[in-house]
Symmetry: C2
Subunit: 236 residues, 2 copies
């Protein structure tokens, strides 16, 4: 989780100016007491400019989630057929962390604001839900045809989001000090240990289940091997 | 998950009449087109009666969640110290299922309505979040002092909610046909298999970790024994 060497994508300066003006007013006066008119007056632009970028006042609080959701969907769609699915969704979740970690001061301000304003909390829950559904949709496709595939997809997606958010919230509560990437890696490692496969089953996709070939990493613990073997035999 | 032989708790008839009137109008005219005035006129009561029971129009759509959240909190608080924690939160989640299964026709109507009205979808997400936090709070207490206790608590709570809702949604989409309880039991069994302990560690709570005594159920698979042993040794 090193800070990327590539420059972030260029954003329209007017959009940035609106976000900056909005947050300055939210912090000074409070979120509820700030109107869109106040924001555009401070930014020195017209109302129509505001609504060109943001459908509502709530959206200016979370200016990067739509882009991040797009990035996540693109990332998942670009995966290879032999990607380990749980690892892939963990990597997708790291895109969200990266967005927060790009601008710690802003992320911490927003976290405080979101905890104070119930409407923003509800907005955030709906965004989290959309991330979770994006991960689940990918996993449902990867698990298609497996027993309880959609159930497993939903459970793993929820676990990934919960682990990511546990680490993200700790980092935000610590005012963005410390390395968010390390904390999230640790949390996601927990989910991969519970659900990921250090062992791959080869020769199961076909029509016959008579032959099961297991290819195991050297460092996979014995019990994971047993588990995978039982799954392959349909006994788990 | 047999239908309970005990009668449901008595509810004030006026409250029931308001819910019935509201749903009749929501189905006839649509949710957005129905006002609180319309509802109280049909129920034959005054506005103040409505707001005595429901803070807003949204709340009448989910009339039993507050009671269910209370029941869940009470149930978790009444647990014994040697309850297997994952089993306990699974049982707590079954209280939600029971609320839905008590009145299948109403639950299916509400499900359809919630999918059509974005505001209700947001409301539902906030309710789901409160259930998840109730489960996580219990688990955090049970896992206190364990490495990554809060992380594990959050992940298990999210997994339980996801599994429960996967089965609940399937049942609602099938118009409430089939046995919701069996489907939820199956889904929660998946979470218990991933996170629950068929093996108990005894003699670890104390000050010395030199002795680890494992008490295993006869039917626990070998790999779970190995896993629990590694956890007890702090290696997992």
């Amino acid at each position: 989780m090193s800070s990327s060497s590539a420059a972030p994508a260029a954003k329209p300066p007017m959009r940035d100016a609106l976000v900056a003006a909005a947050f300055r007013l939210f912090l000074e006066r409070g979120y509820e007491q700030t109107t869109v008119d106040d924001i555009v007056a401070l930014a020195g632009v017209g109302r129509r400019s505001f609504f060109r970028y943001f459908p509502s006042k709530e959206d200016v609080v979370f200016p990067d989630h739509e882009r991040c959701l797009d990035d996540m969907t693109t990332f998942l769609a670009a995966g290879a057929a032999d990607d380990e699915p749980v690892r892939r969704v963990c990597d997708a979740a790291r895109l969200v962390l990266r967005m927060y970690a790009e601008n710690p001061a802003f992320s911490v301000q927003r976290y405080r604001l979101t905890r104070q304003v119930p409407g923003l909390r509800a907005y955030e829950l709906s965004v989290v839900w959309r991330y979770e559904r994006a991960l689940a949709a990918y996993l449902r496709e990867r698990f298609a045809g497996w027993p309880d595939g959609t159930l497993q997809a939903d459970v793993v997606a929820a676990a990934v989001v919960a682990a990511h958010n546990n680490a993200l919230r700790s980092w935000l509560r610590s005012d963005g000090s410390g390395d968010a990437g390390t904390a999230v890696d640790h949390a996601l490692g927990h989910v991969q240990a519970a659900f990921g496969r250090p062992v791959r089953t080869v020769g199961r996709a076909g029509h016959t289940d008579e032959v099961v070939v297991l290819v195991s990493r050297r460092d996979a613990p014995l019990w994971r091997v047993v588990q995978e073997f039982e799954t392959a035999l349909g006994r788990a």
